[in-house]
Subunit: 299 residues, 2 copies
């Protein structure tokens, strides 16, 4: 098993970054990750204005996966996510679904205990640890901040990216150059205040490759669905792209005309909001596995 | 039990419409409803261009509920929804999530049998009958087409408006002037092709009133959540309004500051897409019942 420390952190996805570790497909690897604030929030009294924003939203990596070349699919099996025993959530003026409102910057520590996040003395939420930022280098010549989601993955903030799921990412650069960070102890669809319970921890991963074909956008495989994960400048555009990708995949799967697949989309393609607060907004189209196979989602 | 035939149909919500029936709170009433195409699609070969669009998207009613006055809440208990044994779904050029694409208008009949919609010989979808259009008259002087969702309810197209749920609507006019139509045998979040399996049928309802307070937007009570159902010109705006309503309700419920309630929203308020295809787009904010009571959703 390989182990990568949280000191090996990047703040953009870029094919020029030097890999910090190399793994073969099927090899196990543990990534240690810092919380999304770079571990800088030490007490609830800390003024968020003194945060060093260049140290926020890091991802541990990049990891070079042997044999990965452009147009392959990097399969990321998320075997486990182990959050620490304390997370931090913050509201930041100007940010989130209600960023246009006036409010004070504030951070709050949240204890994680017996599978629950203790929000306050009376209110607790069942934890469901997830990886907020997970992706690969974009095509050579491009650079994407780790705060931003896109076709390469990145800060998708999809609550279903949990232990037991598989993520299929398009490979754009040799070795894929994978990185991950931004663990959340729990997050609802929307992530409306801009952060969630941000927590340091470890994740155990195993990579695999599908050679010579790749998805246009990241695909998440859960127990019962394939989800096409899209990001765009607004939710409407993201919903349109996710709808088109889903309809085209249904056409390939069933040999349907556009019109038939479009109809079927109304019955079985669930459009879900990922988050409404990142530099690009996210929507995923979930198709139950009884109606789609992975084959039809790759090209 | 009162019974209202599908001939008693309106195409706008308007406090000027004459009620076709009067009921007391707790009285049972069955509404018969035509399908959203007004029963005009008689064969799959029918050219959709010959549809009389003035007969589309009707709602049966309006029903005058005794004792309802502005600022009350009309409680609509959906006791049963009984769809016919055949529905119709259609794609219409220029409409739906992919309306900018070129395609042909097409209608397709879908048999409903043994709890499933038979989409084609190999593909079937479990039915979950729901009411697409359900609402009350808007304030006097306003008129809203039945095709459009809003604070009065209307064409919300929320897949969770099923048998066993309760809808809380703000009353704007004497008697509330309730109407419902647009049954779907099944619909996924998004309703991406603009129609779903449109079906005629009956729904059994029971009304109640909460006097002197009302929700700002329709509230749906399901087995485990309260959902605030919002519509706006785009998804981003709808998500913002739904987030604000949810955060303000959490403040009232828990006595939290805005900042605390905003944080909690990231953990437990699920922003869900209703539909992306109607004259206004819809988002609902679902809050688990363990974190909110109905009291905090009414003012």
């Amino acid at each position: 098993m390989k182990y990568v420390s949280k000191e090996r952190v990047i703040f953009s996805f870029n094919s020029k970054h030097e890999p910090v570790e190399r793994v073969k497909p099927s090899e196990l690897i543990v990534l240690e990750v810092e919380d999304a604030f770079g571990g800088q929030v030490k007490s609830e009294g800390d003024s968020l204005e003194t945060l060093d924003w260049t140290r926020v939203d890091g991802a541990t990596g990049p990891i070079y996966v042997e044999g990965a070349v452009p147009n392959d699919t990097l399969v990321v099996e998320i075997l486990d996510i182990k959050p620490g025993d304390k997370g931090v959530i913050a509201v930041i003026p100007g940010y989130g679904a209600l960023g246009s409102k006036e409010f004070r910057g504030k951070a709050k520590f949240v204890a994680l205990k017996d599978g629950f996040a203790i929000f306050d003395g009376k209110t607790r939420v069942k934890i469901k640890p997830m990886i907020g930022t997970i992706g690969v280098a974009p095509p050579p010549g491009e650079e994407v901040p780790t705060s931003t989601p896109g076709r390469h993955g990145g800060n998708m903030d999809v609550k279903d990216v949990t232990s037991g799921t598989k993520l299929y990412l398009p490979v754009f650069a040799e070795g894929a150059l994978f990185a991950a960070g931004d663990l959340h102890a729990v997050q609802a669809d929307g992530e409306l205040c801009v952060s969630s319970i941000e927590v340091a921890g470890q994740t155990l991963l195993r990579f695999d490759l599908i050679k010579g074909k790749s998805p246009r956008w990241p695909i998440l495989e859960t127990a019962d669905s394939y989800m096409i994960i899209v990001a765009a400048e607004d939710l409407d555009k993201a919903a349109e792209i996710a709808s088109r990708e889903a309809v085209e995949a249904l056409m390939r799967e069933h040999g349907w005309s556009f019109e038939e697949a479009y109809m079927f989309g109304s019955l079985a393609v669930e459009l879900k909001i990922n988050q409404v607060v990142d530099p690009k907004k996210g929507v995923r189209a979930a198709i139950p596995k009884e109606y789609i196979t992975l084959e039809s989602l790759l090209r």
